[in-house]
Amino acid sequence: MLSPPFRRLLVANRGEIAIRILRTCREMGIEAVAVYSDADVDAPHVTESDHAERIGPAAPASSYLDIGALLAAAHRSGAQAIHPGYGFLAENAAFAHAVEEAGLIFVGPPSATLAKLGDKLAARRAAADAGVPVVPGTLLPLTDDPGAAAERLALEVGFPALLKAAAGGGGRGMRRVERAEEVATALIDASREAGAAFGDGTIYAERLLTPARHVEVQVLGDRHGGLAVLGERDCSVQRRHQKLLEESPSPAVDETIRDALFDAARRVVGTVGFHSAATAEFLLDDQGHHYFLEMNTRLQVEHGVTELVTGLDLVAWQIRIAAGERLGPEVVDCRPRGHAIQARLYAEDPYRDFAPAPGTIGAWEMPDGPGVRVDPGVRAGTALPAEYDPLLAKLLVVAADRPAAIARLRRALDETLIGGVQTDLPFFRWLVDQPGFGAGHYDTGLIPTLWGGGQPPSADELRLAAAVAVAARGAGAARPANVDSRDHDGWATQARREAVERSAR
């Protein structure tokens, strides 16, 4: 690239995705400005940034979700553009609008597009109007009258059904209902949860398709009508309707299905004025039929999988598109190669229904070597703030084909050592040895049906662990429960601490 499109860009996010964006900014010669809450003074995304601005207390509503604080930080730091990452304000039309009004560039779609897509029910209707099959269900919100809702569900949707938040995402405001009698309670719960999470308790219903796979199509669009479809990702390994592992290409998608999915994705994207990165999500049933779920006009957590098979930097392209560049032939005519898989390393206990496992990171040894990429959000000594997502790092592998990618993932998992907190790593280590997964035959029911709660440790494992513990005790003191956070940049940290103290007065 000739010259950077922006001199300075503010990353309105934290953790892994903030670091991911900072890295691309560095490569593009853009100064990246990190933001931090009081819980993140020493966080890696702050200590690794060129410049950092405090935005408020730990609670997300007072910091990472505070539009005024973010704009003030952008103003103070002289940033010309804002990248929202994913989550937090990434799909918030009011934020995008405020950024536009402030004369800054929002690295994402126009605020009007976000406003239109923010209502998932409206997006569902638009897709249906564009001739794209949608998951059977309601096209209008369920009324507040639970009795009428139950009747409508039984008539129009059928059971089991899934209640979903029109403003929703990330599994919040979502409830599975098996029978008409369950509708009333589930509707009230889902509506309350959605209202708390998104400020909008509107609920709609879809038939629960099982077995089904979750397959999504990545697109990039420029400001001049250029559009590139960059392959699909299979995201069927889920817990609580949230993805844990993604791969591209999908083992369930052949050329016929792929053509149909890509065509559907183009139609869905065509329903809105759009630029930047977007993902059209579909369910794929066991007959290979696809049903549109929703469209996300932001970077996805799993975007790296597509980067590994296309060789493109999607964050760089978001920034270039924001600056008005056109998609080149290397993007539009891109043919993905090889196979990539991402495992999301969360501080979650897979033996306790993937419940968050808070704590402080002890040992932190990430894998490397051929075909391995790690996008970390923490390091040894990081205390995980209770306020935020427990994603520790994304472990990605790429290889010539799927069996080689699985073998590489197994190797990479075996190289990974994370101390201090339970992670979902043993789940992935189990998964890579499952014959069904190896054959590519799995669906969104994999975790509830095949993993369940996981197996207890075997007698051999316990005996081995016992030998280790006895030997470690005999060999003298090991690491204590916590280690002091490493001070990578003492002066900057001190300055931030002082800023926090000043603001607290």
Binding site: R429, R473, A478
Partner: protein, 154 residues
Amino acid sequence: MSTPEVSVDGAVVEPADGWTFAWVDRGAGIARLSRDGASLRVLVEGSGEDWIVTLGGRRIGLRVRTWRERALEEVEAAIGHPHGPLEVRASLPGLVVGVPVEVGAAVEAGEPLVTLEAMKMQNLVRAPRAGRVSLVTVRPGQVVAAGAVLITLE
């Protein structure tokens, strides 16, 4: 000399035999186990009785207790049952080096009853509860086996 006892969730686990243990990075808790040419990396964190060993990403909590700690625990357990005569036993084999109480003495919980020496270390056997010494079965210079009755309290 007895080996420490290891338990997981209260169940005793017999440690696997024949593994050689070496720290790779003691500060980080990373160690290497090897046996018959095979080796594996493990994570081990903890101190004293409480340990966490991470195998294949799974954290397994273990209690490693020396005979002394087990003895202490038995004593503590006995405190919870202050009924009737209580036989205070040696939880480890050793040499009796001191008996600071006599028959008829009233003792408080935690008061030293017998000093045992083992592995060149002196260990106090304390009263698990308050009571009166009704019988002293050992004298200084005597070698006792694990489980031998030392003192009886009423």
